[in-house]
Each structure stands twice: as structure tokens, then as C-alpha cells.
């Protein structure tokens, strides 16, 4: 008999080859993937060192500190009014919202309260900072997963909000507008009507993105079920803000914490999502931006007349004591623990920034995910490097 046919020989070679391939795959060595420090998905200089087995992350380490500026040390050699300049630069996309908890903590220690008009304007700018910050995220996150257009829409429409902030405060990014006992100055003429138009426009932007991004099947496929943070894990890690509300935790400091700001006077909802995945985080933020525009509208309508500055001593000395004030900032819970010894500046000022805790869950979260999902998870957790490194 003739020996093996060509066909048989080919089949034999093919099985040998496939076995060899399997063996090769079993022997793969772990590979270390260095993401960043300058990757666009990291919003600054954050480095993620992921150990990969094939496409799967088996261990991830997050390296931060490339932008550490030592603000906690610097606050100790500055006066209270000077500190607001520093803390403007913590979360630089919503700077005004950073000022608020610090000023409130100082006011709590001094036992003074700003007049109602100032509280309304504060709350309004707080929410406008949220719109400017998260509005950008809504486009940015789509950019990270491959859709270019929404980012341009976001930059375009955020500019309207920034213009309004600039018109009233003089600063586009760093308003430095909040003062102990009130505000730097009152709103300019015609500002209210302009802002109403801007809020309407931003609601249209939200509707647009809801169809374009959140309703997009490609976006959903990239985000659904990716990077699920269970509520219990998230809380133990101190994950806060929209990130934890997207895990189904119905908790918002604007509603749940007594505050001199006027959220309690407004009609609004806290949005949550039960899934805890990247899509849920996007979706919750989208709703929060829309809710914020509605809140600003209500405040514009109900804006009381009156002074914007309470009587405070010319030289601000904060009585000895300790105060902790935290607010629900765009990125999550931000708080200041101020220890005063009666001097012109804080004796110790612990800055609790949201992103530091939000990102500290990453080593836990990235384990077992796949490489493309790293980007989705980083984008959906949404951090600002200045807010991590302080």
C-alpha cells in the first residue's frame, strides 16, 4: 500500500502545529504594560503599571505623585484668604466647587454665615462648575472609547458656561470668587438672562449626547458590564460622588448633609443606577448635569436681593477649634479638615480630595479585566490629576 496520502500528511502537520501553538500559549510569560504617565486616558500624568497574561490584567499598580505640589504643607504658611488661591488648583475643571467646602469650614469655626444672596450665588456657581466639569467628561469619555465628535461638542458647549463664570468672577478656570462671609462681588448686569439661555442650551447638549453616546450601541458594548464596583467595596474604598451613586448607593451630600448652601430649597433628584459599571457612571453623570442646569434655573428665578457679604473682621483670624466640612463636588466628596489655633492661617489643613479615593480602588478594579477595558474604566471613573496629587 502506498504510504500516507498528501492529504493525511497535511492533516498530521496541522495537528502538530496546533498542539505546538497551544504549548506556546501555555508557556507565555507575564508582560508588563506601562500605561502613561502621559496617556490621554489619564487626564494628566498618572501611570498604570499592568501585569498582563495575554490580554488579561493579572495585577495593576497605580503610580501617582507626578504632580504633587504639597498643598497641605503650603496651607500652613498662608492666611485663610490666601489658601483659596491654592485650592482652586486642586480640581481645576471645577475650581469654584473646591473653594466652597474650605470657606464653609472656616465660616463654621468663625461662627459666621454669609447672607442668603451669597449662598444662592455660591450654590449656583457650584452647580455651574459641575456642569462645566462633567459636561466635558460626557464628551471626553466618548473620546476615550473611540468616538471623536462628542468631545468637540463638549468643548464647544462648556465654553458657554465658562464664559458665564468668567463674566461674573473674572476667572475662567480659577475664579477665586468665594470669600469668608460672602463673595468677591455681585453678579454683573444682564447675567441672569444670559445664564438662563446658556442653561437651556446645555440641556439641549445633554439631550444630544444622550442620543449620540448613551444610546449608541457601540458605546454600550464597550461600557456595559465593564469595571463593576460593588457598593460595599466602593464605600470601603471611599469612592464617592457619581461613581458610588452609579453603584446604587442613594447618597448625596448635597441632600444628606446640613449645609448653609441652598440645595435644600430646591426641587431636585438624586440620580442613581443599580449596575455599577462604566455605563452606569456615564449615565448618572449625564443625568446630574441635566439636573444641575435645572437647579441653576431655579436659583436664577429665586435669587434673593440683598448684600453678598456678611460683616467680617478686616483681618481674618479663625478661632481655635477643628472643623470638617465636606460637599458633593463634581468629582465626588471633597472635604477640608481644618485645625485652627487662632492664627491667621490654618495650623493643619487636611485636604480630602475625591479623586484620590476614587482612584485607589483601581488596583482592585483592574484585576482580571482586559487591556481595552483599562481605558474605559479609567475614563469612566473620571479623575483629575490635580485632585489626586494635590
Amino acid at each position: 500500500m502506498t504510504a500516507v496520502t498528501d492529504r493525511q500528511r497535511m492533516a498530521y502537520i496541522a495537528t502538530q502545529a496546533s498542539e505546538a501553538r497551544v504549548n506556546v500559549e501555555l508557556q507565555t510569560e507575564d508582560m508588563t504594560l506601562n500605561l502613561g504617565p502621559q496617556h490621554p486616558a489619564t487626564h494628566g500624568t498618572l501611570r498604570v503599571v499592568a501585569k498582563l497574561n495575554g490580554e488579561q490584567v493579572i495585577d495593576a499598580d497605580v503610580v501617582c505623585g507626578y504632580m504633587h505640589r504639597g498643598y497641605e504643607k503650603l496651607t500652613e504658611v498662608r492666611t485663610y484668604p490666601q489658601v483659596t488661591t491654592l485650592i482652586n488648583r486642586i480640581d481645576w475643571l471645577s475650581s469654584f466647587a473646591n473653594e466652597v467646602p474650605f470657606i464653609l469650614a472656616a465660616e463654621k469655626l468663625m461662627d459666621i454665615e454669609a447672607p442668603p444672596r451669597a449662598q444662592y450665588i455660591r450654590t449656583m456657581f457650584f452647580e455651574m462648575a459641575r456642569i462645566a466639569n462633567i459636561g466635558l467628561f460626557l464628551g471626553e469619555m466618548a473620546l476615550q472609547v473611540g468616538a471623536l465628535t462628542p468631545a468637540f461638542y463638549a468643548f464647544r458647549d462648556r465654553e458657554f458656561v465658562l464664559n458665564q463664570i468668567e463674566a461674573a468672577t473674572g476667572g475662567r478656570f480659577h475664579p477665586n470668587y468665594d470669600r469668608i462671609g460672602g463673595l468677591k462681588e455681585d453678579l454683573p448686569k444682564g447675567w441672569v438672562a444670559e445664564t438662563q439661555a446658556v442653561m437651556k442650551r446645555l440641556r439641549e447638549f445633554c439631550d444630544e449626547l444622550e442620543g449620540l453616546v448613551a444610546g449608541n450601541v457601540i458605546f454600550e458594548n464597550r461600557c456595559r458590564g465593564v469595571g463593576v464596583i460593588p457598593a460595599e467595596v466602593g464605600k470601603a474604598y471611599g469612592v464617592s460622588g457619581a461613581n458610588i451613586r452609579a453603584s446604587g448607593v442613594d447618597w448625596d451630600l448635597r441632600r444628606d448633609e446640613p449645609s448653609p448652601l441652598v440645595w435644600k430649597d430646591l426641587d431636585w433628584k438624586v440620580w442613581t443606577h443599580p449596575d455599577g459599571d462604566s455605563f452606569a457612571r456615564y449615565w448618572v453623570r449625564l443625568q446630574e448635569v441635566r439636573e444641575a442646569t435645572l437647579m441653576v434655573d431655579q436659583m436664577l428665578e429665586g435669587l434673593p436681593a440683598g448684600p453678598i457679604q456678611a460683616k467680617v473682621p478686616r483681618i481674618i483670624k479663625v478661632p481655635a477649634g477643628e472643623a470638617w466640612v465636606h460637599t458633593d463636588n463634581p468629582l465626588g466628596e471633597m472635604g477640608f479638615y481644618i485645625v485652627s489655633q487662632g492664627g491667621l492661617g490654618p495650623f493643619r489643613c487636611k485636604i480630602r480630595s475625591a479623586s484620590f479615593n476614587n482612584v485607589s480602588v483601581l488596583p482592585w478594579l483592574l484585576r482580571g479585566t482586559y487591556v481595552p477595558d483599562i481605558i474605559t474604566i479609567l475614563a469612566s471613573l473620571y479623575f483629575i490629576l490635580g485632585d489626586i496629587d494635590r
Binding site: E76, V77, R78, I315, P319, G335
Partner: protein, 263 residues
């Protein structure tokens, strides 16, 4: 169906409780914690809508566990430290501003320092380095304190925990296994204050370069930028040079006259 948004509850009801009911809630919180810890709890302060609890150093981890299990403190805010030593490089504004305050005395309203609350229940029988130092609310008998803030997302109550650490060898148990978020905060506190967290798996630098020496947030660590160059902010309130000062004061002296003559 899962609930996608919170119920339309009137938010005022949540905020409504005035100080007294909230304080009973906080008082009860302290009592529950005291029952859990026994003599591990050294001191507690309920004031101005907040709670401070000082615990024994060796009860630190037990405190965190008790807070999580018995007090439903499910949310980790932050962990940090305090150095009560008076600062080596004090606030440069302090020296200048006293002069300015003298000048503008009449403009200043009641200085807010007046209703000064008694900041610290004097540490009883404290025979240690903190003699003569101000150590704040629930302040310590030693130089260093570790500071932990926990919060409950269900009862919306939070509390600040403190523990005194040894001056020479500040060390305390790690709570990273109780609250995952404490991992990074302990690394930060370790590099900034030099506290050792026993049982922490990876006490490595998080912000500073790995070869960094010293503990920047300790009060005796000099702020080098200030050593090299004085604080430029002082320039703003610097007194004018002699000649200019006279020139500036002279018109102000007969301001009334000039105003009248202008009219």
C-alpha cells in the same frame, strides 16, 4: 424594576433636625462605641454637629472594626496625621499683620476670636512633650496623633477618630484590611509623617520620589522655599519707605480740606 433615581422626598425633612436632635443621635453613637470598646475609648467630644473620639493606640484596629460592624460606618473618608508641635517656620503673615491690625483697628468689627470655645479639655495628668502646646479637640498627650474620619451613608453621621502615637517611634495598627481605602492613605501618612502602620502590606512612597528623606508634614521639617526666599506675599502689606509714607499721609491728613476745596 430597579429604582433609577431616589424618591421625590422633600429634601427639607432630611436637613430639618436642628442641633439638639442631631446631637442626641451623635451622643448615642458615642455611647454605642464606648460599649464596644470599653476602656479603649479615652475621650469623646460632641460639639457643633460633629463627633471626636480619642481611643487608645492599641485599640485602633478594634475601633475601626467596631465602627464598621456595630456603627454601620460603611464609608471611609480619610486617614491622616497631626503633628502638634509648634511650627518651625510659622506663618510669615503673623508678624506683619499685627501692625496692620493696629492701624485699622476701628474698621475691624468685633474680632471673631471673642466667642472662642474652650478648644481642649485639658489633658489630665499629661506628663509629656506636649506641655504648653495646644492640642485641639480630643487632642493628645503626645506629639503625634493619627486621625481617621468615617461616615455612614445610611444614618448620615460621621465621626473623627484620633489616637496618640509614641513620639520617638510612632506606630499603629493598619486598618487597610478593614477599609480598603485606608491602604493609600496609610502610605501617604507614612511618607508625610513617618508613622508606621503595622500589618500594612506595602508601605512605599506614593507621592514623593522613592529616595526622598524626611517627613515633610512634620512641623520641624523646614519649608525650603521659605528658607531660600521670604514669602513674597508680605510685599503687599509692607510699610511704605520713609519719604513716600510722609507724602502719602500728608494729603490724607487734610483730606477734609481738599474735598471741600474741590467742591
Amino acid at each position: 424594576m430597579s429604582r433609577l433615581s431616589s424618591a421625590d422626598t422633600p429634601t427639607t425633612e432630611v436637613d430639618a433636625p436642628e442641633e439638639t436632635p442631631v446631637d442626641t443621635a451623635r451622643q448615642e453613637l458615642v455611647e454605642r462605641l464606648a460599649a464596644e470598646l470599653g476602656d479603649g475609648l479615652l475621650e469623646s467630644v460632641v460639639d457643633n454637629g460633629d463627633v471626636w473620639v480619642r481611643v487608645r493606640r492599641d485599640a485602633w484596629r478594634a475601633t475601626a472594626e467596631a465602627c464598621k460592624a456595630a456603627l454601620a460606618m460603611d464609608y471611609f473618608c480619610f486617614l491622616s496625621g497631626i503633628d502638634w508641635m509648634p511650627s518651625a517656620s510659622p506663618n510669615p503673615e503673623e508678624s506683619v499683620s499685627t501692625e496692620v491690625e493696629g492701624v485699622e483697628d476701628e474698621e475691624a468689627d468685633e474680632p471673631a476670636a471673642e466667642p472662642e470655645p474652650e478648644p481642649e479639655p485639658a489633658p489630665s495628668g499629661a506628663a509629656s512633650a506636649t506641655e504648653g502646646w495646644t492640642t485641639g479637640v480630643a487632642g493628645g498627650d503626645t506629639r503625634f496623633q493619627v486621625l481617621l474620619r468615617l461616615y455612614s451613608t445610611t444614618s448620615h453621621l460621621g465621626l473623627t477618630l484620633k489616637a496618640d502615637l509614641d513620639d520617638a517611634d510612632p506606630r499603629v495598627a493598619s486598618i487597610a484590611e478593614v477599609y480598603g481605602g485606608a491602604d493609600w492613605h496609610e502610605r501617604e501618612t507614612w511618607e508625610m509623617y513617618g508613622f508606621t502602620f503595622e500589618g500594612h502590606q506595602n508601605l512605599s512612597h506614593i507621592y514623593l520620589p522613592s529616595e526622598f528623606e524626611g517627613f515633610p508634614l512634620r512641623k520641624d521639617y523646614p519649608l525650603l522655599a521659605r528658607e531660600v526666599k521670604p514669602w513674597p506675599g508680605i510685599v503687599d502689606v509692607e510699610l511704605m519707605p520713609e519719604g513716600l509714607e510722609d507724602a502719602a499721609i500728608a494729603p490724607a491728613g487734610d483730606a477734609a480740606d481738599t474735598a471741600e476745596s474741590a467742591e
